[in-house]
């Protein structure tokens, strides 16, 4: 009974912590955008995902340092929050914006996603990976990273371990690229459209 009570308190504290961190990301994001705008940079180069990652890493280090990580763990359900995020992402999709890109944009997306998906599938087959892991990895690489991996994992009944492999792979690859790619694009003189794609 004592253990259940402690679990419920941990769940509430963990959820409150995630909520507080989310609010803090929004506060910092606005402040940083204003700081850059004040210096003549209209487009904030440090976008909110980067701030969220930094705050998340700091919070994780603090929780582990103070040995309170296990206590708040019931409220920090990463996979569940990612699934909620997928619903929010879909709700935010504006069909008019998609249609504005026209048939060319849709065709380009179709060719890109299909070719990357099947290339990853072929490569994973060469490495003799299990089919579920292949499907999750191919979706993650070709569509939109961790969110696609989580969505695909539910469809192909992948193991938690397989989702964790792919999530770690995407994060390890994407984290440095989030910082390096805008800098490289500017150094190479690429247009915003090309660099963004």
């Amino acid at each position: 009974m004592e253990k259940t009570k402690r679990g419920v308190i941990g769940l509430v504290v963990g959820l409150a912590l995630v909520g507080a961190l989310t609010l803090l990301v929004a506060e910092f994001d606005t402040a940083i955008a204003k700081w850059f705008a004040g210096r003549g940079v209209a487009q904030n180069p440090l976008e909110y995902p980067l701030i969220a990652v930094a705050l998340g890493l700091i919070a994780n280090a603090l929780l582990r340092g103070t040995k309170t990580h296990a206590f708040v763990q019931p409220g920090i359900r990463t996979e569940f929050f990612l699934k909620v995020g997928l619903v929010l992402m879909a709700a935010g999709l504006n069909i008019n914006v998609i249609m504005k890109q026209g048939a060319g944009g849709l065709l380009q997306a179709l060719v890109l996603v299909t070719s990357v998906f099947f290339f990853t599938w072929w490569l994973a087959t060469r490495f003799k990976l299990p089919p579920q892991l292949k499907a999750v990895m191919a979706c993650a690489v070709s569509i939109c990273g961790v969110s696609a991996a989580i969505a695909a994992a539910g469809a192909v009944l992948a193991k938690k371990k397989e989702v964790t492999y792919v999530t770690a792979l995407v994060i390890v690859t994407a984290l440095p690229l989030m910082i390096l790619m805008p800098w490289l694009a500017r150094a190479m003189g690429l247009s915003e459209t090309v660099a963004g794609a």
Partner: protein, 45 residues
């Protein structure tokens, strides 16, 4: 008498996230209609 807990359907994490996601969408929409400021506190203004 059957156990009341068994009468409630047990939702999988996928369905629970759909429900929570839709509730958050509703909350955001209501927040927009009620003109709730974002960021909420504006600490660094």
């Amino acid at each position: 008498m059957s156990d009341p807990r068994r009468m409630l359907p047990k939702l999988s994490e996928d369905w629970l996230s759909v429900l929570v996601g839709l509730l958050v969408v509703l909350l955001v929409a209501l927040g927009g209609l009620a003109k709730v400021p974002w960021p909420l506190f504006g600490w660094f203004k």
